[in-house]
């Protein structure tokens, strides 16, 4: 029995075994570090891609605004007084003259005065970038942990 204990003790304290334990621990540590690094790299890469997409979208927005302005101006040119008059004349129309116009009295009718260019639902400008676009991984973890009703805590709170 004593021999068995001695043998077990010797086995446990064999130098090669301690080295293997150290090596194992180091490998586990390296693996954890590699996983964290990979995770960080992945998140960072995704953030970079999204950031670049934002830059492209911002450029696209400006391009669309320019295109809108172009189209609006082109439409106005097509509908300009001289163009419309030329098209009307080509279709055989001419300006009406006094004596050719018949006025009809409509009770309660008021002639509208002036145009209304207001938008029915004006766009609401939200000038806040979602945190996903600006937070680092550490920022996110810190925010996750510091919010009582978020993350894990959210699951256990009633």
């Amino acid at each position: 029995m004593i021999n068995v204990l001695h043998l077990t003790h010797a086995y446990r304290q064999a130098p090669w075994r301690i080295q293997r334990q150290w090596a194992g621990a180091f490998l586990v540590g390296a693996l954890v570090l590699a996983m964290i690094s990979a995770l960080y790299l992945d998140v960072t890469a995704q953030a970079a891609i999204l950031g670049r997409e934002i830059q492209y979208l911002q450029a696209d927005t400006i391009e669309v605004q320019h295109a809108n302005a172009d189209l609006q101006t082109r439409l106005a040119t097509l509908l300009s007084k001289s163009n419309m008059e030329a098209r009307a004349r080509a279709l055989g129309y001419r300006p009406s003259e006094q004596g050719e116009i018949h006025y009809v009295i409509v009770a309660g009718y008021f002639q509208p005065n002036g145009v209304n260019l207001a938008v029915t639902n004006p766009p609401v400008v939200v000038n806040v970038t979602p945190p996903e676009y600006t937070q680092s991984l550490l920022d996110w973890i810190a925010a996750y942990l510091s919010t009582p009703a978020a993350g894990l805590a959210a699951d256990i709170l009633p």
């Binding site: 172009d70 766009p123 970038t129 676009y133």
Partner: protein
């Protein structure tokens, strides 16, 4: 990498990195648009390009210079030299403000050549060619209402008209922001609201029609230039303001070819002149309002009157015998009006001229308004005879818009309006309409009513060419001799007519001014028929029914 991180220069490197990490950019809002009262676009924006070459990316100077010069119509050698000697520039602009239509074929060529080069795994010979878009002002109606709209030049400044008057509103507020270059630090571009869009009181169709009639009038009567204004006398909204010559706003750089002086751009507000007999409306208004005369006050016209030791005569230098005040207006008698102002006295007369705003700018919202000039007792250049001559519009300088404003009190029940062209503003999708308060009440409502009737009767009595079939109008001609070298030249006149209608419910007021008509010097023969023609078009375009129908509609 670790060595660099811990080296003594690390801090410098970090500073340098920070310097390049963020770029300060100014975001300029899109300039607000300008519309007429019915929503027709008068001034908008369009994309133009700066075509240039990014020198570090340049592969083949020869091909670049050839393609650019070919497509943009530039000199090959000049383009080649610019690229060969960039003078330390990273980006060399070759052409500015190039229109999209011109750029499109060049863009297509660049894309095609790049595709071919990519297929053969070689750099494109057109690499480095870049197109930087920017917005430029565009005027779809070209010269229509040019004097009202003004123009926006390439130095980013509004010139004349509303472009200058409302430049700050139209331009909006540029926003400066630090923009990260590092995509990891992507930040949102700040919201930059567009410049405020303006809605004018101008009616595009009426404006075009009035401009056409003015051009025709200049041809018919051999006048050098002219002005026609159509205003709503109830609220001061200017619905049309035609002048000559007119600038094609899309070619604003030809301004210098057409105009010698800035006041020629919009004479309706900038050019002051002696108005002549249209001014008699104000003299008569003052006389009636002070009780100096009534419509039936008799006056014996002997053909002359002495004021301040100077003899004043009628326009035809003959006596007109017994008259009442309607006759004085109908025959436009200088002697009668000089008598009214003299009887009234200088204090009262000039007090009324001051109430009518003579000698002061009206405050019309267009850039470059002239103040006019009225000499008053006490001024070094005022003489007693001025009391007589001012009464019939000599020795006083006004602009057409000043006359409109002053006479609006007669048409509008005693209330004088402020002429204006801004109907409303649109910003961030919200529209605010402008309501102008009256600019004062220089005369009583009864005076305004009486004088309107007197002027209408005087036109009807003489069967004036200004009459408008179906509509009762009131108004007055003015034929003012033009001073040349200190003397009045009877062969050169300013012919004008100011009138409004319908008399019982004024909805339009029209001022016609023809400068030096050669077919006839008299406003009766020139400006009066132009007024009638403009009024006939105005009632059609503004849907104003004839008096008989309108009065039926009003009565239950």
């Amino acid at each position: 990498m670790i060595r660099i991180q811990v080296s003594p220069e690390a801090a410098d490197f970090r500073d340098q990195s920070d310097n390049f990490a963020m770029v300060k950019r100014t975001f300029y809002p899109e300039r607000g648009e300008i519309y007429d009262r019915n929503g027709h676009l008068l001034a908008g924006n369009e994309t133009v390009y700066t075509v240039g070459v990014n020198i570090p990316d340049m592969v083949n100077i020869d091909v670049l210079a050839r393609e650019i010069s070919l497509h943009l119509g530039l000199d090959y050698q000049e383009t080649y030299d610019k690229l060969l000697n960039p003078y330390d520039l990273v980006f060399v602009p070759i052409a500015n403000f190039v229109e999209a239509d011109k750029v499109a074929p060049l863009k297509e060529t660049v894309a095609r050549v790049a595709k071919e080069a990519a297929a053969e795994y070689r750099p494109s010979p057109l690499a480095g060619l870049e197109f930087h878009p920017t917005l430029q002002r565009s005027y779809p109606e070209n010269a229509l209402a040019a004097n009202v709209v003004g123009f926006y030049n390439r130095n980013q400044r509004g010139n004349f008209g509303v472009e200058e008057k409302y430049n700050d509103l139209l331009a909006g507020t540029p926003v400066e922001a630090w923009v990260p270059q590092d995509p990891n630090r992507a930040a949102e571009i700040p919201h930059v609201p567009n410049g405020t869009s303006l809605i004018l009181t101008i009616d595009r169709d009426l404006q075009a029609s009035v401009e056409s009639m003015l051009d025709q009038a200049l041809t018919d009567y051999g006048a050098q230039n002219g002005t026609i204004i159509v205003m709503n006398p109830r609220n001061g909204e200017i619905m049309a303001m035609a002048t000559t010559p007119r600038l094609n706003l899309n070619e604003f750089w030809t301004y210098g070819d057409q105009f010698d002086q800035s006041y020629e751009f919009n004479p309706a507000i900038s050019m002051q002149y002696e108005p002549g007999s249209v001014f008699k409306i104000l003299t008569m208004a003052a006389g009636l309002d002070t009780g100096t005369v009534t419509a039936n006050t008799p006056f014996y016209d002997s053909g002359s009157i002495v004021v301040g030791d100077v003899t004043i005569q009628n326009w035809d230098r003959r006596p007109w015998g017994p008259q009442d005040m309607i006759g004085c207006l109908q025959h436009s008698l200088n002697v009668c009006h000089a008598w009214i102002s003299s009887t009234m006295g200088k204090e009262l007369f000039y007090d009324y001229m001051n109430r009518f705003g003579i000698g002061r700018p009206t405050g019309v919202d267009l850039a470059g308004e002239a103040p006019g000039h009225l000499k008053v007792p006490g001024d070094f250049d005022w003489y007693p005879v001025d009391l007589g001559t001012n009464a019939f519009g000599q020795g006083v300088a006004v602009s057409p818009i000043q006359m409109m404003m002053a006479v609006s009190a007669v048409a509008n029940g005693g209330y004088m309006v402020t002429p204006h062209v801004l109907y409303g503003m649109v910003s961030e999708g919200r529209q605010i309409n402008i309501n102008m308060d009256p600019a004062g009440m220089p005369i009583r409502a009864e005076t305004a009513y009486t004088l309107s009737q007197m002027l209408a009767i005087s036109l009807e009595n003489e069967a004036s060419l200004a009459l408008v079939p179906g509509y009762r109008v009131a108004g007055k001609t003015g034929t003012a001799e033009i001073p040349v070298n200190g003397y009045y030249d009877s062969s050169q006149t300013n012919a004008s007519f100011i009138g409004w209608g319908p008399v019982d419910d004024p909805q339009f007021m029209i001022y016609v001014w023809l400068n030096r008509p050669s077919v006839s010097i008299w406003a009766n023969d020139t400006a009066a028929p132009v007024f009638s023609e403009v009024a006939q078009q105005t009632v059609i375009l503004l849907n104003i029914p004839p008096d008989s129908i309108r009065q039926q509609a009003v009565q239950p």
